[in-house]
Symmetry: C2
Subunit: 351 residues, 2 copies
Amino acid sequence: MNDSGKPTIDDIARLAGVSKGTVNRAIHNKPGINSGTKERILAIIEEEGFSPNYHARSLATGRTETIGVLLPDVENEFFAMICSEIEKMCWEKRYVMNLAFSNDVPDRERAVVQSFIDRDVDGLIVFPVSQNYDAIERAIAAEKPVVLLLNDLPLQEASAVLVNERGGMETVVQHLIDAGHQQIAYIDGYVHYSGSYNDFINRERLRAFYETLERNHVPVDHGSILEFRPELYTKTEPAFLSRLFESPDPPSAIVCFHDRIAIWLVQALRDIGLRVPQDVSVTGFDDIRELQYITPRLTTYRVPIRDVASEALRILFQQLEQPSSIRQRVVLHGTLVEGASTIAAISLTPD
Amino acid sequence: MNDSGKPTIDDIARLAGVSKGTVNRAIHNKPGINSGTKERILAIIEEEGFSPNYHARSLATGRTETIGVLLPDVENEFFAMICSEIEKMCWEKRYVMNLAFSNDVPDRERAVVQSFIDRDVDGLIVFPVSQNYDAIERAIAAEKPVVLLLNDLPLQEASAVLVNERGGMETVVQHLIDAGHQQIAYIDGYVHYSGSYNDFINRERLRAFYETLERNHVPVDHGSILEFRPELYTKTEPAFLSRLFESPDPPSAIVCFHDRIAIWLVQALRDIGLRVPQDVSVTGFDDIRELQYITPRLTTYRVPIRDVASEALRILFQQLEQPSSIRQRVVLHGTLVEGASTIAAISLTPD
DNA sequence: TTGTAGGCGTTATCAC
DNA sequence: GTGATAACGCCTACAA
């Protein structure tokens, strides 16, 4: 017995009067062992509370049954759901999750991925926030399967689980156009806070917005494409919205990059005397839980976030079980949620 | 170079034309090495992208720079905050967090703690849900410091960070009594769903409720102490509340075990035609974020949850750095949040 | 069926 | 200053 109180395989071997090779056979019930001695050894193991040392085992086998998970944070409900789902699947396979947060800081993302590599995790699940993916490349070079969440990167070898952002935004915008809206504004997420920010999702959604307008021959007014800034959550800045409504053709609908902006917008419009949906229709995206508290119920697009996580783990485990298997890219689909924040546009032409 | 592409200390030693002992000295800038050779070695290390193998190192040193964190779950905002805070402090010390969830299942709690022991984490942070703490005892026996969050257990050797639940509930109840309330009901959390459920927090708060009433000579009506059940969130069950109001002395205030029940209660009262606070005052506990969406703003007690987490890590790191240091029990204090859900009781005696 | 030896990649302890 | 060498605890051959 070593000094820290934990028995080793040598202790068990000595107690059972066999060699550690035999103990090893008993532990992993391998063939070629007398069932009597096996039982005896197992009994001693039970009694002594022995379990093989994780690091020694990993050193010998090269496997760790640990995966590294990197998310932007966990106070955002979406990431909490992802985290929850990942943990659930890890538990089922008796894997353990090493979890760290990037907090949207590229350097930290890189450092965390490197630390996961150093700790020799079997694989990684990463929600990338940066476009500098050299650390992820190193993980791949170290033969660790990587699955990207929701964001794509130009990495041949990385798997990814994406959502059909374009299709989703198209559905939302088409919904407005079908309701007769012809002046539609867009509020994008905060893209420009970092030069290396991964704006994949922003680009996908905004591009679908443009394309859907064009396909429907709805005029695109580039002045009505706004970029949100986080300060707006707390500071009131009337000019941000008012410029939309000072134009001769004010929007009858505003599409938001995601729900949180839409929630903010409903209140901000109220503050300048505009009602949703009577004066302006508003749409969100993602279908976050907070929407249940918001009046009117927002029209949005439900992103199947739990499925994204579970699909990512399915892919990862598959790659771990058969290392030959090739990278996969999966695109999941969400559903339109029709709320009360959008109504038919008032036609300028009287009936 | 081994086959997986990652260089080892032997590779570096060979490349630098020195022994691995010297390389080791260079890595951990230990004394007794020629600064020239050191630089040369460091350059090669940089070039080859070498970093010491985590498992080999842990095997040799007995330290892992990893802590095991066990929470009930992470979709609850409170636990998400704890998780976030823990990760932040781990990152500062370059520790990694192994995270798992018990989902309020005692067996799972036990298994997770055991798996952390097996993986040889340096220490554990546990929010216990069960009163079966044999696994935690094993962790302590394996000389791994354990810090309990918010729940106490009769374990001599475990540290704990608690909140002054009694004082908090006393403040809330006294607030009502001072406002003239004499008929005060209480809705407890769901205690009886598991025989081994750790009802420490429930007991503390309920006990403070009783004691505060008694100290103020306010009659205690045991029939108005209810136990909530999760089904109530979805199913309407008029009898649950109506029995409170069928008595000759219906409550003028209802104290809830926590905010979520209070949120439910406000709506449930509304459903049976009672207004908050005009007809009944309601109090919550914890001050969760969702309250910002609830009207009226609930009177509650703010639990300093982030401080709980950071204090727990402070204690844990201290114990890791000086293993001699003794277990600690810290009790933090929150603050009363006076909302609009409580008003002065209407006096039966006319002025 | 069982025992033995070597290796996994470090760190630590000696000699030199 | 530097280089061997023995742990650390396990697994996997191969030998008996």
